[in-house]
Subunit: 449 residues, 2 copies
Amino acid sequence: MRHLLASAKRRKIYPVNPTASEVLGIAAYDSVVDVPGSVDLAVIAVPALQVPEVMRECVQKGVKAAVVISGGFAEMGEQGGKLETELVKVARQGGIRFIGPNSMGHADTSSQLSTLAWTEEITPGPVALLSQSGNYGHRIIHSGVSSGIGFSKFVSTGNEVDLHLEDYLEYLAQDESTKIITAYIEGLREGRRFFQLAKETTVRKPIIVIKAGGTKESAKAVRSHTGTLAGSDAVYAAAFRQAGVLRVDDDDELCDVVTALLYQPLPRNNRIGILTIGGGLGVVAAEACEREGLEIAPLASSTLERLDAYLPPRWSHRNPVDMAGIGMDKSSATFSSLWALMEDKNIDAILLQAPVALGTKRLSNMFSAEETRAFREVEERNLSMVRQRIKEYGKPVFMVRPALEFATDPEASSAFRREGIPVYPNPRRAARVLHHLAWYRDYLDAAGR
Amino acid sequence: MRHLLASAKRRKIYPVNPTASEVLGIAAYDSVVDVPGSVDLAVIAVPALQVPEVMRECVQKGVKAAVVISGGFAEMGEQGGKLETELVKVARQGGIRFIGPNSMGHADTSSQLSTLAWTEEITPGPVALLSQSGNYGHRIIHSGVSSGIGFSKFVSTGNEVDLHLEDYLEYLAQDESTKIITAYIEGLREGRRFFQLAKETTVRKPIIVIKAGGTKESAKAVRSHTGTLAGSDAVYAAAFRQAGVLRVDDDDELCDVVTALLYQPLPRNNRIGILTIGGGLGVVAAEACEREGLEIAPLASSTLERLDAYLPPRWSHRNPVDMAGIGMDKSSATFSSLWALMEDKNIDAILLQAPVALGTKRLSNMFSAEETRAFREVEERNLSMVRQRIKEYGKPVFMVRPALEFATDPEASSAFRREGIPVYPNPRRAARVLHHLAWYRDYLDAAGR
């Protein structure tokens, strides 16, 4: 109700409650039937047993759409199942389409409509989320917003007795405000339709899913959660691959992939250039990439020559490029090396792990105030050139930086984000994203896109 | 030098530099030979070509120990290799043992000796770290300190031409200030000795290692980094298992395992109880546990009865325990449910994912100031009982909470840490740690400990 009121300038909100005369200071009605004028959307959050009756009143009122927040239906066993059957019968006969039951609500950031009970704001943006778990959906939004991801629509689909995940997917595929579709799935009611829709959609818009319930006890937990069958994990995996759907493990990986897709081109192939400040960092990054099926490309001889000019003689002379303890005051050499790697024909994407874009506090340990200003100016220019060159060469650049550095030096984080360069806390996560991107590029190539 | 000076009250520091008359305001000497009195430790950071000569002067002075920071030896090719051979010959003949070359230095927090060039402080504590990469060692220390881990000793072992990783390991096994040994390894010079030492040590002290260079190009990177052979990954993996060594993938996983070992008992077996606020969270947690080979234990009938009394009728009635949208103001029901799971004979460890120990700001959205105080008081009592019961029942309890929640609600994080309850950002990381702990318990059982 509080969330709905936040958009009250754009619409009229009528509380319905048979025992209260007002709710949050607004006059309440005994029944939806008593509300003056027509009603566009009913949000139903009464005990399960009363939901069919409330739905009947909505029919009487001529309501066409509803969100049923109430739980206590099929997920509670046989009796709840009967109640659910009654509910859907009432709605169908009355021509009402509805979300839920057992939904946490939904949100549309462009029209500022939210039937969610959370207090957090959802940043508007081009990513849609469909979730068969309200709490897990909340978690994804939470992680997304903190990673700088904005959302167009969110639906907590609940028990899906009327509208199915496939219905929302069909809508989002056409929705102009949605550029990327994400989903948390426990089990599909219309698998064949989902994969047909997905196949048509992924050639234009990426679809990224978490499919849960792939193990024995988690599948049982799915059943008791939303009354769904989790199905064979291998069958889902194969179908996702065939339909060009990117499958990820959890909310972190989902946000990692979305961030890259939002701001970076797809790599032409899977050959990675690694640029680091230290040998061990390069070893670990190379291993992470190879474990994800990526290639550590040999450097072209022209690249070797250029790097010889920029870097101290102790540099590794191979990919991964260990810049061998280059000073934090030498970020220009780091950028020159980056340009060299970007221009190397053997390299499709670059993983950067070096101290550039440091915050003012760390710079002030090395430089005077005036030197800091001059240094910062050059670095800002270099940073915006990264974005320009990513576009020019069509090669993604990812930054790896430990989470703690971001906590202690937030300026650096925001500098990269401003330039659309995704930042990952370790090379494993960056390599995983590059794997997804290279796979998706392959899929699109095979699909003739 | 700055780091050394920080401990200058406990020792005398003499800069040696042939071209400067003073360094950081302290009179400098032309050669170590000119330093008055005897010298306990020489820290050598001159260009590679000059290192053998400086080492000769150390021999002349009667120095017995050195740290060689200088790089440019075997890792640089044949010429550097010859220089290295000369260096080790000079030191051996003169009876000097040394760390490095190509080391980033070392630190001993109890005697406050640090030859590192970092500016960060290392929190003192019971964890030792040996690292064959200075930068990656830095990263582990960085991640560790931010996870609340304290360190006893750190050695960046460098090229290990004199002292080997095995020498440090032998020392740490006996070192009373070290309770847990961790290492970043690229390749072992004395594999047989390492595994013999490890086998003797792990029955008393856990050893946790990252072994890098397990893939083709990363192995080549290892070679150019410290001139080491990475060796067969499968052979290493088998040897680690036989010696009771816990092998982890990266610094995050290393810190996750260390945190659990520091504060939690080893689970008796691998049967996990999951307590969550939502169905989807339970599904994902159960899947994460099963993928790590853990079991989702069926609840004892007495536990089912107890949970029926604490939780709303919609709770899942099975493990994972979905508390079905229990309010944030009902943390006492969460704790009662936790006690029930801890007392269940089918359960060896518990994974908790519920909104307890919320910060004052979030509580004040729900309660008056007075209510908040009362609520907090009860919760503090419950939190300290968790620690007590973990000890009593010998069952570890892990908390799962998204990283963002910690950023926005740091009070909660510190409340858990104060009680020694490890907090992981997602169930996958918690499950991975439980897998390691259950495996280690099995190993110790088989070893008769």
